[in-house]
């Protein structure tokens, strides 16, 4: 199957105009050329599709890994955000323990303790020592 460029095809058509190439021959050339172009395009699409599939697979692996890692470390969030989360947690769970806040909100202990002390100073919460 021979593949022609656009210019070559124009040239053949011009020849056909001048009756140097029969219409049958021209159709044959055109048909072959269209099929060849389609096959090339299909091949290109298939290659791009494979590349996309590989990228999606990689992203899925990365996402899964990140999801696992997120659960394995304390969350790194700004102090203000942590403070409002802690306030919300305490209002929903009055009488909760410091360790429960750390565990359930997955926040670093030193940050939680610092924020709890701040909230106590501001009069937002009341800390009780367990006897």
């Amino acid at each position: 199957m021979q593949k022609y460029t656009k210019n070559e095809l124009m040239d053949i058509m011009r020849k056909q105009d001048r009756k140097k190439v029969s219409i049958k021959e021209l159709l044959f050339i055109l048909k072959d050329n269209v099929i060849s172009t389609f096959l090339d395009e299909i091949d290109l699409i298939q290659r791009k599709l494979r590349q996309l599939e590989e990228r999606i697979e990689l992203l899925e692996i990365k996402y899964e890994k990140k999801k696992i890692e997120e659960k394995m470390f304390f969350r790194r969030i700004p102090k203000n955000e942590a403070k409002s989360l802690i306030k919300e947690y305490i209002s929903k769970n009055p009488g909760c323990l410091t360790s429960e806040i750390i565990e359930d909100l997955r926040l670093a202990p030193e940050l939680v303790i610092k924020i709890l002390q701040e909230l106590e100073r501001e009069g937002e919460i009341e800390a009780r020592k367990i006897e």
């Binding site: 394995m72 470390f73 323990l97 410091t98 360790s99 565990e103 997955r106 303790i113 367990i130």
Partner: protein
């Protein structure tokens, strides 16, 4: 398989406060200080502090990430 920091902390807390092999720390006194996962050994290492009576302790626990058992417990500060 324990792959969640929260679960590791709950195991450590339970051990420190209630487990018959643990120190029977005072209720509510358990505070985790650090948690890390050792990928090579498949273990969680939890450092915590707790109170027992008037004493305050700092301890280090190693938890098997495969079955969730506490495999080592050591007081590192009193």
């Amino acid at each position: 398989m324990i792959k969640d920091l929260r679960e590791a902390l709950k195991i450590a807390r339970y051990f420190v406060l209630y487990d018959s092999y643990g120190p029977y720390g005072d209720f509510g006194s358990f505070i985790p200080l650090s948690v890390e996962y050792n990928e090579e050994k498949d273990r969680w290492i939890v450092t915590c502090k707790f109170k027992k009576g008037k004493e305050q302790y700092k301890a280090k626990l190693e938890i098997n990430a495969i079955d969730g058992r506490v495999i080592s417990y050591k007081i590192i500060e009193k």
